[in-house]
Amino acid sequence: MRRAKTPAAIGILAALGLLLFLLPMAGLIIRAPWSQALGELADPTTTTALGLSIFCSLTATGIALVLGVPLAMILARTRGTLRNILRALTTLPMVLPPVVGGVALLLAFGRRGLVGSLLYQAFGIQIPFTTAAAVMAETFVSMPFLVIAVEAGLRSLDHRYEEAARSLGAGYWRVFTRVTLPLLRPAIFSGAVLCWARALGEFGATITFAGNFPGRTQTVPIAVYLALETKPDAAITLSLILLVVSVAILVGMRDRWLGAL
């Protein structure tokens, strides 16, 4: 096939776009304090932030799985206006500026918030500026990724498998656990990885709703942002770690995502 020749201008603009992606990565890798990287990793601030990030992002992914799979099931079953409303609600956090998400969470769960005030008066519970708040903020921004992947999986599922199982005498829960969930496993897995990656990098909603308390709410992205002024080497090392994790996820999951999204 002979295509029309691509004008040089298109090529130049594309190259500029590519450079915008490439140069920051190059900067990060070239300026990385490779010799001190191990030392930085041993720094208690770094390890605490890393540990907290891993805990919060995994917990957020777990909550997203427990709440998001049923949500995706409801979404896959509804039609018409209701479905559009539900879908807009669940995907809003994907496009909402994370800071706005953080503010919204504060207004709902803060001490004077919609639900938060009730919680505080009834049980003396305060959510903002705790690890729970960091987990909530991460769940808020990352769950849509899981819901969308699982819903897509459900819509492409051949429901005759479930019908075959029913005709063999399997009740709802047996069909769900032995047939539906195993068949959905690829979609759930890719959705969960995407969700976890988003939770791991969460910054805006977390710092707004959970603040910056080392060991409690200071996750890696927040630690990076703050260390950039005082300890740039630590910031670069932590950034590198996040970069490596992202590349690993991208390489490991590229086939699945092309199908799921």
Binding site: A164, S167, L168, G171
Partner: protein, 341 residues
């Protein structure tokens, strides 16, 4: 029972005895799969379904036994084996769901009996199409259902292995004690497996009976086509039948009233000029199409009496029969079978 799907309505009254294989035969879109799904309890319907005296469905009285408690074995066109389970676990699935004792051992016995014992640990994707469909049949049979529902069980298979799977299916069906309902658009499949044939067209039963009976006296174009005969419909008056459009067909003993007239393609003779002889039926027409059937040729002729004639290849060559050619058709009155519509 009655099932509505938008503008389409399936309205069927059907009964089957234990140990009998009933084949529901009909063209695509006749409502066969809809019928099966409603019987399995998978689709909404109106009416009554009774199995062994137990009411499974009675919409008038609000009775609906859900699919998982109907004990109806279901075999799909393309096996639908659970892809994440081994062959053995697929067969054992229903046994486990119904909490039968020793599910794995029972499933293994079924597989061994069908000669699939060594494939027990294989995953479904490793099976050939024929093996997968045989396993799907075993999965449905293993729970010893009272009703076996087969949805085009052979049509997704390659023609080369269809005969082998059909024999196996026939053997398994013979030893199955419950009601067997097979749905298909393939007449060969229906003839080979069924004790009784029910022909479904556009949502209603147009004919039912023993396979030989049905094909001997077709009551619809679909059945006539599958029996390979010409079906004409008209009004009988003693020694002739008047077709719609006023063409006359002479018959030995036509009787009276609305009738079907059947003419076998082999009984239709073709001529280039108007024949002069004993046949009392002589019609003019134009060749519509010429198709090869083995060593015979079927010539479709359009005209006031549209017919298909079956002739030899030599005859086609000698007469120069091609689409558009003018021909005369002759049929003896004794070759026209007439029966009431």
């Amino acid at each position: 029972m009655r099932v509505r799907r938008g503008a389409f309505t399936l309205d069927v009254d059907l009964s089957a005895a234990a140990g009998e294989t009933v084949a529901v035969l009909g063209p695509n879109g006749a409502g066969k799969t809809t019928l099966l799904r409603a019987l399995a309890g998978l689709d909404e319907m109106e009416g009554r379904v009774v199995l062994d005296g137990e009411v499974l469905e009675d919409t008038g009285r609000g009775v609906h036994v859900p699919a998982e408690r109907r004990h109806a074995g279901l075999v799909f066109q393309d096996h639908i084996l659970f892809p994440h389970l081994t062959v053995l676990e697929n067969v054992a699935f229903g046994l486990r769901a119904q909490r039968r004792p020793q599910p794995a051992a029972v499933a293994r016995a079924w597989l061994a009996d069908a000669g699939l014992g060594e494939r027990a640990e294989a995953m479904p994707r490793a099976l050939s199409g024929g093996q997968a469909q045989r396993v799907a049949l075993l999965r449905a049979l293993a729970t010893e259902p009272r009703l076996l529902l087969l949805d085009e069980p052979l049509s997704a298979l390659d023609v080369s292995i269809r005969a082998e799977v059909r024999r196996e299916l026939s053997r398994q069906l013979a030893s199955f004690q419950g009601v067997r309902l097979l749905v298909t658009h393939d007449p060969l499949e229906a003839m080979a497996l069924a004790d009784r044939l029910v022909v479904l067209e556009q949502g209603s039963v147009v004919q039912s009976g023993a396979p030989d009976e049905v094909t001997a006296r077709p009551r619809s174009r679909f059945v006539a086509d599958l029996a390979g005969v010409n079906l004409l419909r008209g009004h009988a008056n003693g020694d002739h039948v008047t077709l719609i459009g006023d063409a006359l067909v002479a018959a030995a003993d036509a009787g009276s009233g609305d009738v079907f007239a059947v003419i076998h393609p082999r009984a239709v003779a073709l001529y280039r000029t108007r024949p002069d002889g004993t046949p009392r039926n002589v019609w003019h027409g134009r060749v519509d199409s010429v198709d090869l059937y083995g060593d015979r040729v079927r010539v479709r002729v359009a005209g006031p009496v549209p017919l298909v004639a079956e002739v030899t290849r030599a005859a086609v060559r000698e007469l120069g029969l091609a689409a558009g050619a003018d021909v005369w058709m002759a049929v003896k009155a004794t070759e026209v079978a007439v029966y009431p519509a």
